[in-house]
């Protein structure tokens, strides 16, 4: 029983189903996800031009609000915004306002006063982009660039784009996600996306200490044994293992984790011969994956990075479109009244 609508869609979709914010994949249907992938596909060629720009966000201001450092994700968001012709402001909040004691709400009020149109938010706390989306003035779009352990929806969508490019479909695929599912916002978004897009099976392969409670409820099966888990796989997605996980009695050692769950050529040979290997990066060679696999013919890790820019361009342009149409609808209503 709840007091309000717990679905994120009242927040991130307009009344006619367009994207207004991009906070999570929860509640988004197959049609919308496919739309994002198709739009991203159409942006790939922009990156191949001599002049890599389209004017979709010309005159708009995009603020990268990173409360947690991340060079790779921030760079791809920055490039995506610039390729859409937006003005981009990068703010490393972790070392500025909030460290001086300013509340998140006050930081936002100040940034809004600078007439920003979109905030790309990375935060260490799950739900922070939801809070920001609820707090900002209507007309400002929020894109989740990773929040706590909750969601990393653009990363999941670039993974889906990569899978579709290499496999041509989602139906009939068996996909495994290996490693630290407990702490992974990427894994939660990937499991959701894979299920909505219609893969046959999503497996998670990890020791019990790195799995959330009742993880099956997310839409996956659980396998503790890597050799059994690799059987018949079409796609294997390795997750990054943070070294601090070794402390706090989650794992006995890096060496044991690599022995049991690290992806090497022997384990990869148990999957389908054309199984692709993915990793959201940055990779820890010799902890999650051996170099021969990371750099091998089945690895699509660098494709993921390239696709990241196209997916982020797609999401930013679609969310801005939704914000504009919502504002237009309101203006029309106001005019009628």
């Amino acid at each position: 029983m709840t007091a309000n609508d717990p679905s994120p869609n009242h927040l991130q979709l307009t009344r006619d189903g367009q994207l207004r914010h991009f906070l999570t994949l929860d509640g988004l249907d197959r049609e919308l996800l496919t739309d994002i992938l198709d739009t991203a596909d159409s942006f790939i060629e922009v990156g191949e031009r001599t002049i890599k720009k389209v004017p979709l966000l010309r005159g708009r201001t995009v603020v990268n609000l990173f409360f947690e450092s991340s060079t790779r994700t921030r760079s791809t968001f920055e490039l995506a915004a610039k390729r859409l012709s937006a003005d981009v402001l990068n703010l490393d909040i972790s070392t500025s306002a909030t460290s001086k004691g300013e509340s998140l709400s006050d930081t936002l009020l100040n940034l809004e006063a600078m007439a920003s149109d979109m905030f790309v938010v990375r935060h260490s706390q799950s739900g922070a982009p939801h809070f920001i989306a609820e707090s900002v003035t209507p007309g400002v779009a929020i894109i989740n660039a990773g929040d706590g352990r909750h969601a990393h929806p653009t990363q999941a969508m670039l993974d889906m784009l990569t899978i579709r490019q290499h496999k041509g479909r989602f139906e009939g695929l068996k996909v495994a996600i290996v490693g630290d599912v407990l702490h992974s916002r990427v894994a939660r978004s990937q499991i959701r996306a894979l299920n909505v897009l219609g893969v046959d099976e999503v497996r998670v392969i990890a020791p019990g200490t790195l799995l959330p409670k009742d993880v099956e409820s997310l839409g996956c099966t659980v396998e503790y044994d890597m050799a059994r888990g690799m059987k018949d796989l079409d796609v294997v997605i390795m997750l990054r293992l943070q070294k601090e996980r070794m402390e706090g009695a989650l794992l006995p050692s890096e060496r044991e984790f690599y022995r049991l769950y690290g992806l090497n050529q022997d384990k990869l040979a148990l999957a389908q011969p054309d199984c692709i290997v993915m990793h959201p990066g940055p990779i820890n060679r010799g902890v999650e994956i051996e170099s021969a696999v990371a750099d091998g013919p089945q690895s699509v890790i660098l494709n993921q990075v390239t696709n990241g820019i196209a997916v982020r361009m797609a999401v930013m342009s679609m969310a801005m479109g939704g914000q504009v149409s919502e504002r237009q609808q309101k203006q029309m209503k106001g005019a009628q009244a």
Binding site: M1, A3, D5, S7, S126, G127, G148, R185, K213
Partner: protein, 435 residues
């Protein structure tokens, strides 16, 4: 002079309505006369008596005033979140005539001096009875025993550790043994700190989906078992505050069957809401212990119905806006609840999950017995009464709530049940404004 000691004032006759005495008794109210702070007459004798004022209670229910075993009044300290005057007025608005004040104040109520301060302020500014609960450990730090003899002498009705845990079983055992020396009930909110760690939500389906940090059920159930065993061994009178898990109710029932002196309460919001309330990252539902699963909710209700759980409490914890204006993990736990306890209970009655008499018992006779008292509507008793209209509705929001804390569990939703009048010690503590 505290409310408990007040007498006098104009006489009041209440005519009509239905009396529920909190112990299963029920009668149509021909009349009830309040004079000199007491229930002077009931029935025909009251009908025939003259009074300074007569109130028509047709359609209303008259019960003993509600008793809250867990209420945070925020004074001393934390003035921006509330104070004794504001929060006891809010309690009266909710039909409460007695609240047990949590020791989590600043400074902590771990000395007779702080207890006296609370009682002195309450005596002049509270429209209802305030019963302080002292800290069982110094500063609520869970390490050194507090001056329990001094706390008892100053008027504390029990000792507890607020919402904070006690670090280890050895200290817990000594807390119980020492409290037992003075006949003080110990009130503990059972939580194993190591298992709860940094969590702030139930470790279950929603936590897994949203990537929130969970508090597992075993953080509560292992603490419940440990406390029951220590109470059995020390002979202490143990009260388990704010249970949240089905297994806790089972263990409590088993302990009672074995004759151990243990009582318990549950917060009203635990009976209405589950972990799903956090699905939209709604910080209002960041409470401790966390809202758990539907199976737990059902078991807690069954515990109240069967009387295994003695009391429903508000667990009122008012906050200023800044405390809740942040991403979920960064918000402070707690809700401003005391004004909506009755209405949420009536929603449970409408859903046939509780009967009206079970609800009234859990708000009156149940908590009274935990304190070794009685709550009745009988001739000669102190006139602590609540008179509410179950058919009237209201909507908690910024304008209707009296508490400084405005983060009520169901802000903006129309709720059944309006308290028309609260009498504490025969005096009007709250009266619904005319019109």
């Amino acid at each position: 002079m505290s409310v408990a000691e007040t007498t006098g004032g104009p006489s009041l006759k209440i005519v009509g309505g239905r009396i529920l005495d909190g112990q299963g008794g029920e009668r149509a109210n021909t009349a009830l006369l309040v004079r000199d702070g007491k229930i002077a007459a009931l029935g025909d004798a009251a009908s025939q008596a003259s009074a300074d004022e007569t109130l028509n209670a047709d359609g209303c229910i008259i019960t003993p005033g509600f008793i809250d075993l867990n209420c945070n009044l925020r004074e001393p300290g934390n003035g921006q979140k509330g104070n004794i005057a504001s929060e006891t007025r809010a309690a009266a608005h909710g039909g409460f005539t007695t609240v047990c004040a949590s020791p989590e104040t600043s400074p902590v109520n771990d000395s007779g001096a702080v207890t006296h301060l609370i009682r002195d302020v309450a005596a002049t500014r509270s429209p209802i009875h305030v019963l302080p609960v002292g800290a069982v450990t110094r500063g609520l730090e869970g390490e050194l025993l507090s001056d329990m003899a001094g706390l008892a002498a100053a008027g504390c009705v029990a000792v507890g550790n607020g919402a904070r845990g006690v670090r280890n079983a050895r200290i817990l055992r000594r807390c119980m043994a020492y409290a037992q020396t003075f006949g003080l009930t110990v009130m503990f909110s059972p939580e194993n700190q190591a298992l709860a760690a940094d969590g702030y939500a139930h470790d279950g389906l929603v936590t897994s989906r949203l990537g929130l940090l969970g508090i597992p059920e075993v953080a509560e159930t292992t603490a419940v078992m440990e406390m029951i065993l220590l109470a059995e061994e020390t002979g202490a009178r143990l009260h388990l505050s704010q249970l949240s898990c089905a297994r806790s109710v089972e263990m409590l029932a088993e302990a009672r069957r074995r004759g151990i002196a243990v009582t318990a309460d549950v917060a009203m919001h635990q009976l209405l809401f589950t972990e799903e309330a956090l699905a939209g990252f709604d910080s209002r539902f960041h409470v401790r212990p966390p809202l758990r699963g539907e199976r737990d909710r059902k078991a807690l209700i069954a515990g109240v119905r069967e009387g295994v759980i003695d009391a429903i409490v508000s667990q009122h914890l008012p906050h200023d806006s800044a405390a809740k204006q942040a991403p979920l993990a960064a918000t402070e736990p707690g809700l401003s609840t005391i004004e909506s306890v009755l209405s949420l209970g009536l929603e449970l009655v409408e859903l046939n999950e509780l009967s009206l008499s079970e609800l009234v018992r859990a708000l009156t006779a149940g908590p009274a017995s935990v304190l070794g008292r009685e709550a009745r509507v009988a001739e000669g008793d102190v006139a602590d009464l609540c008179l509410f209209d179950p058919e009237q509705h209201w909507t908690p929001n910024h304008t209707t709530l009296v508490s400084v804390g405005r983060h009520a569990p169901v802000t903006g939703r129309e709720l059944p049940g309006v308290v028309r009048m609260t009498l504490a010690g025969g005096k009007v503590a709250w009266k619904q404004p005319a019109g």
